[in-house]
């Protein structure tokens, strides 16, 4: 009976471990999960079989060292379905702020007394930059609901839904005060994909874009609006170059304003 269950792996690359907590914080659902699938690999929870064949592999973290690069290829080989979870795995993560930074090597030197011991790729990149990914779950961190809904669907043989509508839609459904319109806070909600439940506006603060770009992210227009609201080019670039700085529309707009700042 047991060995007919779908096989599951959870892998970690460069990350804060927060997205794996979608499983470890799941409470009773963790026990339900263990009845529906067999966990084969999940280091933090005590299973260590990184190369074993599995049906579904969840991957947290970005690729940032030469070792990672070898490992992710092996993970891809081992898994039927590969699902990335979180901003690191789907977008390179906060650590992608180093991408394109000319002084990167100096940075390592600034942080480590002997940088020669540190093995690192010049860029932190998402999993999909290196191998085929079947499903990308965004968020920093992903929510337990996102991960467990997707997993439930996969276990039921159903293609998971993965909404990329903007945070605003969830924000309005929740009846939050629009901080952009009422408080002139530079909210990233209109260009950020939903999933968090419009948490920041619920707390009266501007969304800072931790779920990455929405389906139609008109970042140029939003940035213009931030200008009208009195933000400096530097402030605007920082809004876009934050948790998911390596994603296309955010990176383009962010770097655009960064250059304005430089001149």
């Amino acid at each position: 009976m047991k060995n007919t269950l779908p096989r599951l792996a959870v892998h970690k690359f460069s990350s804060c471990d927060g997205c794996q907590l979608a499983f470890l914080n799941a409470g009773e659902a963790l026990l339900t999960l263990s009845r529906r699938a067999e966990i084969i690999h999940f280091s933090e929870a005590g299973w260590e079989n990184p190369l074993a064949k599995v049906d579904i592999a969840f991957v947290e973290g970005s690729i940032s060292t030469p070792k990672d690069l070898e490992r992710i290829k092996a993970v891809r080989e081992s898994a039927n379905t590969l699902v990335t979870i979180g901003a690191c795995a789907t977008a390179g993560g906060l650590q992608a702020l180093r991408n394109g930074v000319k002084q990167f090597a100096d940075w390592v030197g600034d942080v480590y007394a002997s940088p020669e011991y540190i093995q690192s790729l010049p860029e932190s990149r998402p999993i999909s930059a290196h191998v085929k990914v079947d499903l990308e779950l965004w968020g920093c961190p992903v929510t337990g609901k996102q991960v467990l809904d997707a997993l439930g669907d996969l276990l039921n043989g159903i293609t998971p839904v993965n909404s990329s509508e903007p945070v605003c839609s969830e924000c309005k459904r929740s009846g939050h005060v629009c901080v952009l319109v009422s408080k002139k806070e530079p909210c990233m909600g209109p260009v950020t994909r939903t999933g968090c439940g419009a948490l920041c506006p619920a707390f009266g603060r501007a969304c800072y874009g931790c779920f990455g770009p929405a389906e139609q992210a008109n970042t140029a227009s939003l940035a213009k609006q931030f200008e009208h609201m009195g933000l400096s080019a530097k402030d605007i670039s920082r809004r876009f170059l934050f948790i998911t700085s390596a994603t296309q529309p955010f990176s383009d707009t962010g770097h655009g304003y960064l250059e304005q700042e430089d001149v």
């Binding site: 471990d17 997205c19 907590l21 470890l24 914080n25 005590g46 299973w47």
Partner: protein, 431 residues
């Protein structure tokens, strides 16, 4: 004693947060090389912080660690507020303690049940453990969820909460939400008591070691959000003195730095805190501690798990106290005017002292940042512990037993490797 030689290599430590390995060689019946290898890739947060507004710091440093983001946010706001001249009032002080209680409950429960308990009961993971002892695991999951619920109340979500800011909280929880949570927490107290008794009843090795405990203290309460840095060897300094007193060095085998005090390893975390602060426990927790028969300060490192359970009980008791007379604040945060300066923050993360230092310019931007996480402080201690404990255990034991024992010892520190891998070299670049 046999004179055998053996290489033990645990390529990936499981049931710890982040990625580390252990290399151990036994040469002629003696421990030769012993390296706790940390290869979690470095993430260079201190560099990313430079040039950012101080308002972005709490959201950024939270991303260093998904297990203790609250600790990162709390050390950071403490340091930044000290520069900006903000004094947290009584409401904020209470709420930050409540926030911290949530993280301790969540993190300690996760560690005890999902990471450590299988070691002591002969299982390799918590799911197998749940097969035999479902009640134990369920109790853990419920307590963990209660901790998460506290963090959510103030932060919106338990990983990378969005509620905390420099100057306070973005929003104060509603009375109704606070009351609902309070009722839930009250029902869990008996579970937390049972947990303490259960940890004390585990077959923990009886073994004493000589080490220095370092923790915050003299806080007028069991330390979480503030205090002086004190130690079992009589250290008693302001947190600003940390850099003078403690030194970090890089070793080739690790992306985490090693910390030393007077050239010696030292211990931070639950046992160190308990050893130094047990007299400030609330009565009910104190009584439970006495019931365990363990006398704190304890030189037995395996008592860490009991200390952790006692802290969980304390945090739950404190959370209930803090929620009992909860009133929403009209202004949950203070706004600051920009000021240049240098500030320090140190709080007790679940795994021990988390020390931050920031320099701000007059526009409120970060000039430099330095973060010393608890796991890099414990790293040297873990290696020293392994040397002693494995010798005591008997180097002639079967290899599998040695491995298991080594892993149990490491896990006992609840190392958080994700945190440990971004530190600065010793000298801060002066700009």
């Amino acid at each position: 004693m046999s004179e055998r030689s053996l290489n033990i290599n645990i390529p990936v430590l499981t049931r710890v947060e982040g990625e580390g390995a252990l290399d151990l060689s036994i040469e002629n019946g003696k421990i030769g090389e012993l390296r706790l290898r940390i290869f979690e890739p470095p993430r260079l947060f201190e560099k990313f912080l430079e040039g950012r507004s101080h308002m972005e710091v709490p959201d950024m440093v939270a991303r260093i660690c998904g297990i203790c983001p609250v600790a990162y946010q709390m050390s950071a706001v403490q340091a930044l507020e000290s520069i900006l001249g903000l004094e947290p009032g009584p409401w904020l002080t209470d709420m930050r303690r409540l926030f911290y209680c949530g993280e301790w409950i969540e993190s300690h429960s996760l560690h005890i049940h999902l990471l450590a308990a299988p070691d002591f009961l002969g299982f390799s993971n918590a799911i197998d453990l749940a097969g035999k002892h479902p009640d134990i695991v369920r109790r853990g999951l419920r307590l963990q969820e209660a901790g998460n619920a506290i963090v959510r109340l103030l932060g919106g979500r338990s990983v990378h909460p969005v509620g905390a800011r420099v100057g306070g909280f973005w929003r104060s929880p509603t009375k109704a939400d606070a009351t609902r949570l309070l009722e839930e927490l009250k029902t869990l107290l008996p579970q937390a008591e049972a947990l303490v008794r259960w940890t004390a009843s585990l077959p923990l090795p009886d073994e004493k070691q000589d080490f220095e405990s370092v923790a915050l203290g003299k806080a007028g309460e069991y330390p979480m959000n503030h205090g002086r840095i004190i130690s079992s060897k009589g250290l008693d300094i302001d947190i600003a003195g940390f850099e003078k007193e403690f030194s970090e060095s890089q070793v080739p085998h690790s992306t985490a730095l090693h910390c030393h005090h007077n050239g010696q390893d030292y211990l931070v975390g639950p046992l160190a805190r308990m050893n130094l602060n047990h007299d400030t426990l609330p009565d009910s927790t104190h009584k439970l501690a006495e019931e365990t028969g363990i006398c704190f300060p304890s030189a037995n490192l395996f008592h860490s798990i009991v200390a952790r359970a006692l802290e969980l009980h304390l945090a739950l008791t404190e959370a209930i106290r803090l929620l009992q007379n909860y009133k929403p604040a009209d202004t949950p945060y203070q706004q600051a005017t920009h000021r240049a300066g240098i500030g320090f923050g140190a709080t007790e993360a679940p795994r021990g002292i988390l020390w931050h230092r920031y320099e701000l310019d007059e526009t409120g931007s970060i000039v430099s940042a330095r973060i010393v996480p608890p796991t890099s402080q414990n790293q040297a201690r873990i290696e020293a512990d392994l040397r002693t404990a494995l010798n005591n255990f008997g180097l002639d034991k079967p290899e599998a037993d040695l491995r298991q024992h080594a892993e149990t010892i490491i896990r006992n520190y609840d190392p958080c490797i994700s945190c440990a891998t971004h530190f600065l070299k010793l000298k801060i670049k002066q700009t």
